[in-house]
Symmetry: C2
Subunit: 299 residues, 2 copies
């Protein structure tokens, strides 16, 4: 897994295990900082274990863009399940490369899938584009919220409405839980008819309240994915995004190896800084120097 997390990934490793993938149920868990996702994921894993299901966890932290280090805290908080051989936990942090985290997450999910874990949980912090890309690797996505998130909740909601298959109002023993659930329900009412209406589940993860209900909601969505064909559609969409991201990463590698040796990039930077050339013109000139677009048909 460490090899897969390195820049550019590790094509040989993935090639070897890829044929054995495709069996695991992949569940994403995302939400704003402080929503209690780690504890909830731990409780979900424990509940799954009680029914004999094995669980792989990929804990992704996009909030640490420069350090590249995984958050030790997750592992500590998950200590209770850390010694169970039926659970494997991998913490990851972004290394600053656009798209790199989503790629590395997909690869890690493939490793756990090929290793035979029945369910793979992807835990990620936040509700921005990164997290959306990360949870795109999942079949089912749970968005975890807490009561009283403040006045930017509307802004958050706009984004999560479209990625949530299940809403979890965690820390539901806090004041405002009823209001939060009611606001979510009202938002769903306003968003029009949809084939799947995300259920809203209330949990108090540390006390294990609502965890079984959350699991049932996730399983009910899995059944919907199978019955409606939406599951296959999502897996196709995922393969597409993944291929496009790998293509871009491949091009980035050309830029990184070729541009410095040509000294074209440094010259272009100087031209842009001196306002002799605008960024678009400089980029176009660099592009033409790096690659020639193939014309004609594919092989």
């Amino acid at each position: 897994m460490t090899a897969l997390e390195s820049e550019g990934g590790c094509p040989e490793v993935l090639a070897g295990l890829y044929p054995r993938t495709g069996r695991a149920r992949i569940v994403g868990v995302t939400g704003p900082p402080g929503a209690g996702k780690s504890t909830l994921v731990q409780r979900l894993a424990q509940a799954l274990r009680r029914s004999g299901t094995t669980v792989g966890i990929v804990a992704v932290d996009p909030s640490s863009p420069f350090t590249g280090g995984a958050i030790l805290g997750d592992r500590i908080r998950m200590a209770e399940i850390y010694t169970d051989p039926g659970v494997f936990i991998r913490s990851m942090a972004t290394r600053g490369a656009l798209g790199g985290l989503a790629r590395a997450t997909s690869d890690a999910v493939d490793v756990l899938d090929a290793a035979g874990f029945d369910v793979v949980l992807i835990e990620t912090v936040g509700v921005g584009q990164d997290e959306v890309d990360v949870v795109r690797a999942a079949d089912t996505t749970a968005v975890v919220l807490v009561p009283g998130l403040g006045d930017d909740i509307q802004a958050i909601k706009a984004g999560i409405l479209e990625i949530a298959d299940v809403f979890v109002v965690n820390k539901a023993d806090r004041e405002g839980a009823d209001r939060a659930a009611a606001e979510l329900a009202a938002m769903l009412d306003l968003s029009g008819e949809r084939a799947w209406r995300p259920p809203i589940v209330r949990t108090v993860a540390p006390r294990n309240e609502g965890v079984v209900e959350a699991l049932a909601a996730l399983e009910s969505h899995a059944a919907y994915l199978r019955a409606s064909g939406e599951g296959a559609r999502r897996r196709e969409q995922r393969a597409r995004s993944r291929l496009l991201a790998l293509l871009e990463e491949r091009f980035r590698r050309v830029v990184e190896t070729r541009a410095p040796e040509q000294d074209g990039l440094e010259e272009a930077i100087r031209a842009v800084l001196a306002r002799r050339e605008d960024p678009y013109a400089a980029a176009e000139r660099l592009f033409q120097g790096l690659v020639r677009v193939q014309v004609g048909t594919a092989r």
Copy 2:
């Protein structure tokens, strides 16, 4: 500006105005949802206006990845300054394209810079990779926090430590403000010697408390950028990131136009879904069909 926000930007428009850029001071304001950034930005703009400084504001919302609509709320909340001709506000939301938002933000900043605004404020929600990319367009970045963000604050801090030039503890009349400021200071102590130690300013934006101090901290960082040469280094780094992002966007355009017409992408997706080919191998084959890497020296 609308033309620049469209996919692929508008090279002709930017080419025309780019020579007039480079004068404005660019200040980024970021932080988690609910930190009160909009109000703070409004108060900072008002304080700047009182000294005759003109202000352009680019309000970026990466939390709305699918809808593509700007948040009306920002405009409503900024109503007080909306009628001042010395202030121009532009709201932007991501349109789902990786890197597209950072590109569009840089272009919008260039428009306001070329139009002669003395200071350009970039406001963005969150602390993930997107926001880091967005605030990379700024000379100085203020990170806004609030007391009592919950137990994920450590995770947030890991990322923001490296992008913050100024810390603002907003809503400082709330319980826990002293602790939040103390924790930030302790974290700065632990992070070792740095040429610039980010000051920590407390504000209560709606009551205008601390706003002048926040402005002074931002101006002090601007003076440091000039005196140390760090400002020039950052602008070079920014030109580099921007060129690389435009190069990638250029390649993405090749993929989008060429891959469908070759039908290679659809075939590759089918092969990946059937586990006949792993994603890396499929991407490499697609890449070779799309472009030929140029060898030899640049012109």
